[in-house]
Subunit: 390 residues, 2 copies
């Protein structure tokens, strides 16, 4: 237990000890907030700052109960956890934020789509399918191309494929591994030349809400990982306002406090559709550590501790880029040209403490600040070109 002299001196239990947990701790460190992390791996990123750990699987009901017994409030930094155990924890009186009922919806992309439909939240057209009726549902799909998603288990682009009917037929004939999903599928309409936007929504325990300015996401077409994100977005003021409003509407049905990253498609014709929601701090909010009055991590701490929300205003335009393992480096690594990068004003490097790299592995991120969006883009491209993993 860390010393703490504030009336905010509760212990926060966190399922998952990855980089999001580490950054949550870093945001609470100035006020000495106490944490305990449940994590399989003793040498996880959060362990670099906090030795207060329960070692165990995020699926292990007994370990989750143990975490609860050490915590005044419990949260999670990853969706793939034992929801039944969290529901039992909540039943027994330990607050879980966001509510486990949110996770039930989020973990299943089919339930997530139905949740949007049932709550009047615009989302791209979809159909649900099972292993038995998948071929029929695809045949009945009105367009030739579509996105096929596994209902459960996919993350970072895995379990998601952009297909044509012809390509689907070929995979089916080959009994391709990528079609195997025991929980079924979502067939989804392709977004039409859409800008991808993320709006982080904060919901306090007193139900007050706040949204971060929309930020624009750019994906690496090869790895399907986020390449960089930039705030403010390039959209009009009206479209930004529509995104914030739809994001708020999208989390309203959860009836839960928490921090929610709402990913949106904004089509050129002005249509805004919710893609998916992460009920936790998100890549698309990393920049808020340096760019905003209140970072997404500080905001989540406030929510967990029952404090008022902080200002989400952007102090400086910013961009964040993942530092990702290249295709040709495995094992130990270093950052090349670090001194050149550090000599540039307003560049912030965050590393996640991973000792080895492998292709496409997320090793860290960097954020750049500048006075205008154009300056942010040029500074970001400059740093991206320099900061190689070797």
């Amino acid at each position: 237990m860390r010393l703490s002299n504030l009336n905010m001196g509760k212990t926060i239990g966190v399922l998952g000890g990855g980089q999001l947990g580490k950054m949550l701790f870093e945001a609470g460190s100035p006020t000495n907030t106490s944490y305990v992390f449940l994590e399989t791996n003793y040498e996880c990123p959060a362990s670099l700052v906090c030795k207060n750990q329960v070692i165990g699987s995020l699926q292990n009901e007994i370990k989750i109960k143990e975490l609860g017994s050490l915590s005044d409030v419990v949260t999670y930094e990853i969706e793939h956890v034992n929801v039944e155990a969290l529901l039992a924890l909540e039943q027994s009186g330990t607050p879980v934020i966001p509510k486990p009922s949110v996770l039930t919806i989020i973990q299943d992309k089919g339930l997530q789509k139905e949740y949007y439909a049932n709550n009047g939240v615009a989302t791209l057209d979809f159909a649900l399918a099972t292993i038995e009726n998948l071929a029929d549902k695809v045949a009945a799909w009105p367009q030739d191309n579509f996105v096929l998603k596994h209902r459960k288990g996919g993350y970072d682009g895995k379990g998601v494929q952009l297909l044509t009917k012809e390509k689907f037929a070929a995979l089916l004939a080959a009994k391709d591994e990528s079609l195997k999903s025991k929980y079924g599928y979502v067939i989804e309409k392709l977004a039409n030349n859409a800008t991808e936007i993320s709006v982080i929504v904060a919901v306090a325990q007193d139900k007050s809400t706040s949204t971060y300015p929309p930020c624009e996401m750019v994906f690496d077409p090869r790895s399907n990982l986020m390449d960089y994100l930039i705030a403010p977005s390039s959209l009009s003021e009206e479209t930004n306002a529509a995104c914030e409003s739809i994001a708020l509407q999208a989390v309203k049905g959860f009836d839960s406090p928490g921090l929610f990253a709402v990913e949106l498609f904004v089509e050129a014709n002005g249509g805004v559709y919710v893609n998916e929601i992460a009920p936790r701090p998100h890549n698309s909010g990393h920049h808020t550590i340096e760019s905003s009055f209140t970072s997404q991590y500080e905001q989540l701490n406030r929510i967990l501790l029952g404090q008022p929300l902080g200002s989400t205003a952007l102090v400086k335009p910013a961009a964040t880029c993942n530092i990702v393992g290249p295709q040709d480096v495995n094992g130990a690594y270093q950052l090349a040209n670090l001194d050149q990068v550090l000599a540039i004003e307003g560049v912030y490097i965050h590393m996640y403490g991973k000792t080895t790299t492998s292709p496409d592995r997320k090793l860290g991120h960097f954020t750049v600040l500048a006075n205008t969006r154009a300056e942010v883009v040029s500074k970001m491209e400059k740093v991206k070109a320099l900061l190689n993993i070797v």
Copy 2:
């Protein structure tokens, strides 16, 4: 040892595990910089973030040697340390930054004044005295009033008195405790209606230098502790430039890398005099955590790791105020009106993990950011009025 994958992955040894050490760690946390702290008290502020400690006195030569054996580079967050042990460490090949020779000068206010005089650095007139000749030196002092400082051992206003010849005579006759100093005295001219300014100077290992914008310090006349500081200062651009130039000149003679807080008196007639130098992060740079591209702590980390200096530019005007134990509260404490304070945009609270309060004890600080200096002042006064220790 913390995991670290950057070529910045050295271990920094720190003499002292107080709040400055804690904030140094917090600045290095995003890149997983390793630290080891030498501190008497296992439950020091730095222990809230780093369990890698050597337990022992800052005067203990053997413990300092042990710290050195665990570190690639050694620094100190307090001046009251065993300089001979640091000189021996330096001799044996462990870099100590700033150089121990700097501490030899800084620890003795008499040597410090002579250093300024010998290096052409403007400082207020002074005379040195011993216990034997103090009365004569005071009698010969050209003004009726003066500041009497113990050469060694004073801090936070202790060992420093503002006197008249009459008051001095009374203390002398009473054999007052405050006159006892086995290392002798500095008699110093009073600054004439001066503004107190601090300029933090960074000197990298490659000898490149950088200064933070001057900030203006306001002291509580009762406790002689800093009440608040504000940046930018209210001085003219020319006077600010003069302060930065004199501060740079003041540290030049040290011929040492390091972070130096140079305190200056600026008289209404434009005269600028160096008061004293702290060779470490300083109260007057706390605001840089939130207000500046590179905080003073991040800057010191860069210096210790041999990296280029970061931009010292101010992103937003800022003020910092100490959170100090009131006269009528002892023992456990809480912060009153915390929710009201947290609801204000751009307020950042830092607590140092002290479990009990006593009159004038430094428990933490807060920083406020705003768009203009005037807004900073009004926000700061508002928070100061609310954030009481109870």
